[in-house]
Amino acid sequence: MSGENVKIVENATCTFCGCVCDDMVLTVDLDQKRITKAKNACILGRAWYAEHYIEEDAPAAMIDGKPASIDEAVEEAAKTLVDAKFPITYGLSDTTCEAQKQAVAIADIIKGSIDTTTSVCHGPSGIAFQGVGESTMTLGEVKNRADLVIYWGGNPAESHPRHFGRYAVTAKGMFTPRGKKDRTVVVVDVRKTPSVPAANQFIQVKPGKDFELLWALRALVKNRKISPNIEEITGVSLETIQALVDKMKNCRYGALFFGMGLTMTRGRHFNSGALIALATDLNEYTHFVAKPVRGHGNVTGADNVMSWQTGYPFGVNFSRGFPRFNPGEFTTVDLLAKKDVDAALIIASDPASNFPQAAIDHLAGIPVVSLDTKATMTSKLAHVAFRTATYGINTAGTVYRMDDVPITLRKAFDSPFPTDEEILTAIKKRVRALKFPKNQAGDKVPPGRASQKEHWKH
């Protein structure tokens, strides 16, 4: 009977985008195993919850497209990974930190590479950070203090719908009691996106000229000369640029948010670097911060886990027995397109549908182990495919918001499928046993915090 066995989950966290809003009130129909209402969710969050259902008939594990037991699949996955000379682990942004930790452990033991979706998202911003640093903040500081907010090369109205209301535009805070009335909002983009109506000012830059515009701003902030042809180059007049400089220098607390309009275009890390450097420069005059508007729910957690376990945020290789970092060499698109890798463990990601064709072609030719909550292009071509529980809905665990704030997930209802963490922990145990047969006492570290039970076995 539907509708009677209902549970309310308060302060639940939506993990669809990097906003990681933790104020969801979920109405869960425990009989139907559906979330029937998600109060406070945005359009993306509502779809995230509404479309979540358990495909009870789907096998939890498959080997070469045929249903298999989880134990068999774990064994086959472990063998595949241990046999490889250059295995890659990839994905990880749509899972918990607890699972991410197990994935890094596997890569360490099998001496493979590990990379996250960061490399094709804000990886270039990570590279820029390593070169320039960053003046940044938690989102509450923007809500409380920012009187000037600039979005550059991003379209939060569609990618992060609550960014405006919860954190940065209409949000009311300590020194911004009137919300939008207490701040000026500027959008810089190549096209008039649905985010533009939220702004006081829209600056349209010529495609591919973000770097030139940012560089001109940096020069003017420092009272240096720029080319008189600046409008011809960037599509933005000198007056407009100078006015923006004045606005930035004279605000009380300025914030620059940026998106993939910078990272995915020619210039990549230098585009992000130019923006971060601009924010840094402005601290000579006022308090100024910058922040990439990160995508997937826990991509920031992946950066954090990778960084604390290996020292590097993405694009890490263990083939020499210790972590090495080199984007362009150990990042997934490169490793696949150059045909360097001979096996892949893909977690909560679908490179077979969104990578460049050359990379997809190589992925199709090597043994792949996949973990995902539903069928994907990648799981369809996988040698071993696990179906796992959805994080934040069917699992607890930790995720990091785009501003590095960690948040605990609340489980809404049980899934018949194991969690990513459980599967990865099981694979880790088997790869360790296969790799170090004489040292079965080695793993003295207690299991991760969420892996108290392997419940699919009961």
């Binding site: 250059f86 770097f211 000369k225 080319s227 042809n229 960037t234 083939s319 001979d342």
Partner: protein, 270 residues
Amino acid sequence: MPLLLKQIAPPEVPLEADNITPDRITGQTPAGVEKLTVMHGNETRRIGDFFRVTGQYDGVINLQGDHLGRVKFIGARMSRGVIRVDGDVGEHLGAGMSGGAILISGNAADWVGPEMSGGRIEIRGNAGHMTGSAYRGADMGMTGGEIIIHGNARNEVGNAMRNGLIAIAGNSGDFTGVNMLAGSIFVSGELGIRTGAGMKRGSVISLKDAELLPTFDYSCTYQPGYLTLYFRYLTGLGLEIDDERVRGPYKRYCGDSVEMNRGEILLYSG
């Protein structure tokens, strides 16, 4: 007679061969060299598993093979002697080298001579990205030595270079001389976009006109005397520069005004 390493088996996955340097093989017999380790993905193997080693080291190591493009770190940290490669090479050629010479008949992959401090690398074909550059996060790239590319080079040539010379007979990619601290980069062909972004000092010279960043300021058109000497040196290295271009004139731009404005870009404007 050089020491000859002839590739006998293509690696299945990239091979890291930082033991292939004069510093490591000096005093070794061919059999001894075959026993030196290489990393084949995550397995430790022997040079002999992939190369047949013959001859005797007389100051020159010669590598031959059709799959050398998958061999990384050739000549890394070398300080003397010569490595001659008949074929292509993989990433990190001559990484951090301080002396000696490397000659490549084919193409080189990304990271040629990163953070090198001395010696010479010459590539007959093309080079990948980040020639003579810094590794990510580091504030200094190449600090000395010479890199000569007869074909094209790609992005970030001389990223954060501090000293030395990079000469490219073909085109360079985007961000040539980015964050350069000092040193010289010469490009015969087309420069990509955003040359010299963030440069503090140093020179980039090109025989073609180019669109520069709005933070580079035109100062004059002139015939710099020192270029005659400079070009004579480059022709000595095997680059072809005709007399007209040796004479000039050149447009001089200074920048990057975002930094100290003490770098220069010279563009031929004959």
